[in-house]
Amino acid sequence: MKIYISGLYSGTNPQPGVGIARSLREAFPRATLVGVEYSNRCSGIHWPDFDELWLQRPWEELDLDAYAEDIRAALDGGALWISGVDLEIMWLASVFPEGHKNLLTPPPSALRKISKPAVEAHRGLPLKVPTFIPTDRSDWELHAFCRQHGWKVWLKGPYYEAVRTPTWDSFERVRMLLSRAWSTERLFLQTHVTGYEESVCFAAYRGELAGSVYMRKRELTEEGKTWAGDVTEVPEEFTAPLRRMVKELNWTGGAELEMVRDTGGQLWLLECNPRFPAWIYGSSIAGQNLPALLVESATGVMARRATDGAACEEFTRVVLEVPVRPQFPLPSLPEPFPGGVGHSMKHPSGTLALAERLHKMRVIETDGEVHGDISARGNNGNGNGNGNGHRPAARAANTAPAVPPSFLKDLETYDFDEAETPGWLFLDTTAASLFRRASDIASGLTNSSVKVTNAYSIKTNPDERLVRLAKESGFLAEAISLLEVQKALKVGFKPEQVILNGPGKWWPEGLLPKAPLHAVFSDSIADLRRVVAGFESGELRAKIAGVRLRAHGSRFGIPVDSPEALQKLVAAVELLPRDVAFGVHFHMASSNIGVRQWWHLYESMLRWCRSVETLAGRRIECLDVGGGWFPDDWHVDSADQFASAVASARKMLPGVAEVVSEPGKALAQPSMALAMRLLEFERSKDGEIKEAVVDGSIAELPMHFFQPHRILHRDARTGRFNALARGETQLWGRLCMEHDVVALGVELPKDVARGDVLVFCDAGAYDRSMSYVFGRG
């Protein structure tokens, strides 16, 4: 018996070839095991269980047609083939669309049904698939997905690789790297599931389950790969549907279902690999030699059983040195790049090149599906099978973001032929409707026992039009300096409508109003003592005095991170004058930590408030919450959420008579846009624009690194605006700064022209207030 085994990479993220060979050597001592590899850098070629080696050139050099014929000849000659490489399995499925009795890999139809992330085949198994979104959606939607899931998300490649992307800029960076590496934009974002990793590994031949095991990871590498585990029988409630799934897929070969079990016991499917896992010899140690069962099923040759009493259900890995085979001496190390560190051993077999070739051959379609008979597409194994030289085969059709009609209506009021760019555009009706809605929500939540009030944080955007809108909409003004207090007074707020907070609130000296403020919140114990002294001297007067509590992960507010800190806070609160109401204030940007996280933080803060109230013996009468709401998060279902939040506050803190909500950028961000013009671009031979220069810059869009902006192109002839989808063009700002890239990839219209206007929406909050003068002489 001759068995070809591929996938011999044995680095820190190993392939299963060596484990398969070890298992088969025990079961079929006299079988000829042939190791198949595509690089002599893969150390598994030196594993002594291989009787022969079939070393191929890396995938980028291989003549696939000739190689396919060689494999066919080997299979026709009676040899078996077990693959340990996902992409090789996809390619083999296309070469043998009807299968081959000696090819122990799954058919194309089965591969289609296990493609990530939906893994259609999982239905019936007692598990769920974590929520995901393909990255061909607009950046606007992708950002929303990340916020919704608290930025606990993984960006995953179509075949391998998953990277945690906890911020927008990390997402953009990783997306670019993975897309380039795997020659596809068909990536996806998936939510993280906290829990313990488990696997079901099985072997099947032509739809019949030959064997299966359950493995729990007991030690993991830094990359999350198995280092130790325990192997037990698959529970019956899993085996029955697994058997059905195998039958329906007509599965042949090994496979692994990678899962996470959460604290509640729910299993979540991460992926289904169409091959044995690298830890497969651990299963053989436990007495379940799945590669042997697979070969036994395919050939009818009985495997040698492990000696009774020789099995152990727990396994672990060690690092071993083995002699190098004399006929395959170690290759030289590549020269390090000047100033570079280390020598990458990643993908020595040319796996990335194989992915690119498979895309070009349309073995793998842009939808991530695997296709069978490639001969029908005139494959020459080497070229562009789609007959279209313009568009990369793996380029997904990206969608443009939806833009609120009020934006377009407001933009119609501007004369863009005359407008100076870059220039800020105030979206009148958009702003008015947002403030009105906030006001309506607050009114709706106010009742006889609690008053709900909005406050406008002046720092978000001190534009007088917005501050005035806030005044007219019944807001309070929230200031972080005495200059901001003066701004509020200038626009028409009375001192009794101003909240003062922040670490530098007394700056600059001499501008504190004589009349009482609405509230003042202390940012530190020292600040609180100053407030107390101010009240005692009569310099400071306010209806409410309170503290800002420091939220986890923030540097603002009074910390409660130790019992000692809590005790200090409690003692300090007791110093506050009894004739003013006591309040607590906390802010945290929900756009940074995510929506669910923010609401947990809110509940957590109520918990701290109750502790402070109980220990200090001071009733909390005012709660001031908010900060950093992304507009969509604040406006969607916000009325219900805030009603529930007010009810929670009243339940935890019965003395609360006023809740101040600070919607922050939820109101300001959509209220302004930035217009800029295309200065320069050049088309490539195939007509594409890779880079374009605009007269705007990151000086006007400093939030570019933290959030996407919906970008509109104005058709100079019709005056109509169209939202831009993601594409290949980078928009470079006018500044002579390397990082001045205002959009990493947009799809400009084919007839775009110099001087065309682009409008960056969603720029009315910190983009506006933190913009700076640069490069203007």
Binding site: G309, P563, T614
Partner: protein
Amino acid sequence: MSLAEGNEIMNELMVVGGADLAGARAAIERWESCPASTITHHGRLCCRVAREWVFAADYAQLNGEHPLTGPRWIRQRYTWGPSRWPISWCEAVERKTLDCGALAAITHEVFAARGVTSYPAQFIQQYSEVSARHWRKKWEGDEVPTNWISDDLIYHEGCAVVTGGDEIKVWDSSAGWWVNPKQFGGYGGLLALRVCGSPPDVSSFKWGEHRVAPNRWQQIETAPVRR
């Protein structure tokens, strides 16, 4: 006692699997009258602040996750080591080092504050005489009793939390992990378990394949290492 998150003593030669049935029975007898640890309360602001802080900090640390999530932050904050007893809330939270009894008692209260039904749990575990010698020296150096050590066996504490019906999971507060109900004996093996409490309508708890009667030491049957 387990040293999962620090102070691991790895450079020792040890022989495991030496505890026979008689040894386990003797250990049970030895620690039969040993009550699960509790933390005292001065009845004043000092202990009220400490308790409030622990519960509020736990709620913040839970970060919206499932209430059965093990409160590993406690072990991250406090090193495992000798404690002087009795210990009050205000003393415990200020310590840098807490023993298994203090860690387990705090964790038990934390689970209860989350609304999870929790019972103090007592363990008898096997380590090695070399480990025991090191621990004995460390505890004697701090002038605290070493009666939790007996040859290669130790007395240890954790919590048993009800996950639904009569099923429990056992949390080792000193290690920051859930104890595997499938035990093989050997180094770190759990030989006996006692769940302290009077659960209503439950004559015994289900822990993995085991049935554990409350308030009684129960030897833990080991799974066969070899099949």
